[in-house]
């Protein structure tokens, strides 16, 4: 097997190329491959039930990664792998990962298309900035989502102790330590002290701060996970790879984080779908990833809840589920904000699509993942329930397709001007850390609506 050390050597020996030439190479390659493998987005088939399409997508993605590998920004070199090296690395990748400990332990595992087993579920508000004084309460609410196998919480807003947090600044280290300890405190307050952290630290970019904070004495559990993010498209740098030796030798969980941009260097939904799969291979080689967190995003709409994006999620997930045992933790990225019907619909559509296509679930990026305090829980809870129901009903892709289209018809036209929704403090009782009655009422009415669309809530 090609080891991380061999990968580092190739970073110094691969074909030298300007970054813009690599971008052009990627586009040229995906354009040829989608034609060669006859891959075409069909707006009528958001959740395609064509096994051949999934298998062609996987073959095309392997060929793509053979051709373009990944690009090392530090050395300006293309790092390539042969088909047999890719196949071997995929075959030797983990097929399960266990978060947390004790009775709060959660397991994620490789699922198959139309798998009857529940998807694993991560409750997350990662990316949504929240000020220091609200941080624990919001994280506690997220850790309280009943079906969560792991959680993540939110991101600490831009200051700590009143000092702006900057990468490499001493306050970054202090904020990272505080962040981990408060997430663990939040899990404890939610009555789930052993609930695993699927992304340990929200406010640190530098490896030094992450390593400093990821200690048991600050609340980190041995299986808590740190993320290594690739740069769109198919690029890495040493600042991201330099966590790997520590992660590997300390036994910390490693998540590969990949957000290809539809409309960007990989082109439309077809090319971005292939690039999404290729990022899984990048994660294995460059990061030693235990599991994978894909969050493809529409470049213009900054979400993945539109028809082409859900098609992309479905096809890449089917391709991986049919051809590998890689752990696919599919992230929903919604346009709408908290306590809007649209947000419930967006997350439900993603949950149906991803679950029947063989993925596990992470919910959610809310309100395009950028507005302070725009985070909520009952929509996340709905996504977890929908995923579990769909699997337990044994829903097929053929059955899922009209359901997803029905959900899309309720919100897709509103994506460009999606409502921002309410702030957490407007929908939660901040003393009890419980949803306010009006918000609960909205959740109940959505449940009734989803039940009318065919979801059997008695299976929960």
């Amino acid at each position: 097997m090609v080891t991380f050390w061999e990968v580092l050597e190739r970073c110094g020996k691969g074909q030298r190329m300007q970054e813009s030439d690599y971008d052009a190479l990627l586009y040229k390659s995906v354009s040829k491959l989608i034609e060669k493998y006859d891959i075409k987005f069909d707006p009528g088939q958001i959740v395609p039930d064509d096994d051949s399409l999934a298998d062609r997508a996987y073959e095309a993605a392997v060929e793509l990664f053979e051709q373009v590998g990944f690009y090392c920004l530090d050395t300006k070199r293309v790092v390539r792998f042969s088909r047999s090296e890719i196949e071997e690395r995929v075959a030797l990748a983990p097929d399960t990962y266990t978060w947390g400990e004790g009775k709060d332990r959660g397991v994620t595992y490789s699922r198959k298309v139309e798998d009857l087993r529940d998807p694993s579920f991560v409750a997350s508000g990662l990316g949504v900035p929240v000020p220091q004084d609200m941080f624990v309460k919001v994280c506690q609410a997220i850790a309280s989502v009943p079906l969560a196998d792991a959680f993540c919480g939110v991101s600490l807003q831009d200051t700590f102790r009143g000092i702006p947090i900057r990468a490499g600044h001493p306050v970054e280290v202090a904020a990272a330590i505080w962040d981990v300890s408060k997430r663990r405190e939040a899990a404890r307050l939610a009555g789930r002290p052993g609930l695993g952290l699927y992304a340990m630290i929200s406010c640190a970019e530098s490896t030094a701060a992450i390593i400093a904070a990821a200690r048991e004495q600050f609340g980190a559990l041995p299986a808590d996970v740190t993320q290594n993010g690739a740069i769109a498209e198919l690029k890495v740098d040493f600042a991201r790879m330099n966590k790997v030796p520590w992660q590997t030798e300390s036994g910390a969980g490693i998540a590969g984080l990949y957000g290809p941009l539809m409309g960007g260097y990989a082109g439309g939904p077809e090319g971005t779908m292939l690039t999404q799969i290729a990022h899984f291979f990048l994660g294995l080689f460059a990061f030693n990833a235990d599991y994978h967190i894909p969050f493809p995003i529409d470049l213009h709409q900054v979400c993945n809840s539109t028809s082409p994006m859900l098609w992309l999620v479905s096809v890449y997930s089917q391709a991986l589920a049919r051809n590998t045992h890689l752990l696919n933790e599919s992230v929903s990225m919604a346009a709408a904000g908290p306590a809007t019907r649209m947000l419930f619909y967006e997350l439900a559509a993603h949950a149906v699509t991803a679950t029947v296509s063989g993925a596990n679930l992470v919910a959610a990026g809310i309100a395009r993942d950028k507005y302070p305090e725009r985070v909520s829980t009952l929509e996340i809870q709905t996504a977890s329930e929908v995923g579990h129901i769909v699997a337990r009903m044994g829903m097929t892709r053929k059955e899922a397709n009209p359901l997803v289209k029905a959900l899309l018809s309720k919100y897709e036209k509103d994506v460009p001007d999606a409502p921002l929704g309410k702030k957490f403090s407007e929908i939660y009782d901040m003393e009890k850390v419980t949803p306010l009655p009006e918000y609960l009422k909205l959740y109940e009415s959505i449940r009734e609506e989803l039940a009318k669309l065919g979801l059997n809530y008695s299976l929960l």
Binding site: C203, L299, H300
Partner: protein
């Protein structure tokens, strides 16, 4: 030169054909085409078409960047002739744009740069991971009308405020408009650090820059 010539020039930009565009420009100059006409009736029409199609999701970033590259190569030849003629080509404004220190993500910034160029602005893209001094120097060197700063990450946000403070110290702030953008940038943040506008996407950035410069 007839309309067909200018149409072919526009089409070379749309097709991302740099060699063809350069050839057409040189042929045109040889036959006495007014270089300002070549830009305005030919190249600019092409880049604007690509910009519109990109906004509509009908073409993707690589085509937009290729078209912007063709535009740059062709106009660099024409600009020399225009300068020599003593009649400067008018652009909508000079914009310096970059991703701030601590962030190496380039896509959002590159999209905005290309779309601004597609809408008639003269854009100097100074790349990624740009430190405070880098922005200040480039604004001075290019005599910029607008400074654009971008980041995808939360932590480098602070750098934007530092650049604005340094612009004030350098005595540049009063004559240069500042627009910020990127995933974590909100209206509130932009106001807090003293930016003039926030571009929520490429089209919004074009609209806001136009407004800042009194073009719309």
């Amino acid at each position: 030169m007839d309309q067909e010539y200018f149409d072919r020039l526009a089409q070379a930009v749309v097709d991302g054909e740099a060699d063809a565009a350069v050839q057409l420009v040189n042929d045109g100059l040889g036959k006495g085409v007014d270089p300002i006409d070549a830009v305005e009736r030919g190249l600019a029409r092409g880049i604007m078409k690509v910009g519109e199609d990109f906004g509509a999701g009908e073409v993707f970033l690589p085509e937009l960047i290729m078209a912007a590259d063709v535009m740059k190569k062709a106009t660099s030849i024409l600009d020399e002739k225009i300068k020599a003629s003593g009649t400067p080509r008018t652009t909508l404004g000079k914009i310096v744009i970059g991703t701030v220190k601590g962030d190496i993500h380039d896509i959002g910034k590159s999209v905005v740069a290309a779309v601004l160029q597609a809408n008639g602005y003269d854009v100097e893209d100074i790349g990624i991971d740009v430190a405070v001094d880098g922005f200040i120097q480039s604004v001075k060197q290019n005599n910029a009308d607008v400074l654009g700063m971008s980041t995808l990450l939360t932590l480098p946000l602070q750098v934007m405020g530092e650049v604005i403070a340094a612009m004030k110290e350098a005595g540049l702030r009063d004559r240069v408009k500042i627009i910020v953008g990127g995933c974590p940038v909100t209206q509130e943040f932009a106001e807090e650090i003293g930016a003039d506008a926030v571009g929520f996407d490429a089209a919004d950035a074009v609209k806001k820059v136009g407004k800042l410069l009194g073009r719309s």
